[in-house]
Symmetry: C2
Subunit: 216 residues, 2 copies
Amino acid sequence: MTKHAKISNAVIRRLPRYRRYLNELRKKGVDKISSNEFSRLIGYTASQIRQDLNNFGGFGQQGYGYSVCGLYNEISAILGLDRQYKMVIVGAGNLGQAIANHTYYYKAGFIVNGIFEINPRLIGIKINDIEVMDYEKIVEYVEENNIDIGIICTTKDAAQEVADKLCFAGVKGLWNFAPVDIETPDHVAVENMHISDSLHSLAYHMNKIAADEEEK
Amino acid sequence: MTKHAKISNAVIRRLPRYRRYLNELRKKGVDKISSNEFSRLIGYTASQIRQDLNNFGGFGQQGYGYSVCGLYNEISAILGLDRQYKMVIVGAGNLGQAIANHTYYYKAGFIVNGIFEINPRLIGIKINDIEVMDYEKIVEYVEENNIDIGIICTTKDAAQEVADKLCFAGVKGLWNFAPVDIETPDHVAVENMHISDSLHSLAYHMNKIAADEEEK
């Protein structure tokens, strides 16, 4: 991992978005882009972009702009996307299946090695060529296969217990889709994906627009 | 909608999280909570909590704390969760099916009325008692049924076209799961759910922890 000790969390949150846009530009064969052009595309101000990208410096040149490929590769390295990650999914319901099928992750270096489930009707089936295994065997599997990331697609009530077991087995990160905040020891990173929070924000913004229009 | 014109976007982003924790407290029969207790639970500082909740004032009392139910109801009203929303899903693949099955949304006032698909093999099946219909008929359906929200579970390439059609048909909000930022007219709210951005942040934090440990 390239060391950039002082990058703030807010900048880190924006990096995947920069990277997505740079990837689109790269695919379209665009070599360089100015902060003004990038601003129109991505919706951040040009000054915000310059400030963010200055954090890992050297890619912007006065009168030239940013090297699309250079910046894309640098951001990928900062995010740690220049290596591969082995993942297991816990919970083979619709959400677990949806994630297993997101072939995007395979391409980007995130590989689902196994899926675990307690429901005997699902154990043994294959999802996208990945076997659904008995949850009882998860600790052994994670240890033996040096799994990096556990993806939690269980119910709210089971999530913390599953998280504890995955941490015990040695994962380095948890990606949690259960609608509860899970806790991990300091050495295990966690991202809680609260899908419903996003729906609630949407509801707020819809009502805000309606209220603003009424006032007119 | 209760009017709170000056609440910042950052506060709005935190409201669904406050509401989730208040809901858990409410279910456990907790009547009131101090900002210090709330801080230990939710992980924001007590001063941040007081500042955030001051935005819609009147619920915190010195030496008493916040009324759990009062605050829960107030936040629900601000978010617009005191009414019902009719939704359609576009794309009946795994992700669309996962969302259709998230019964949580029904309970919370978000009702999936219909699912639309272009794949003839999926048209006509039922998911959770909701019929999968021909995407050709979506404009008519949205208009006739006063659909509020369109949920986009299509591929990246189809997403903007689907968004345009949904906006034309009269939805007031779009919840986009396709891995691309979609654009809407000013009168239509949009939430882009970039699941992979969250995975990329996780990768960053895992590598950061590893790098910090190496330095020790």
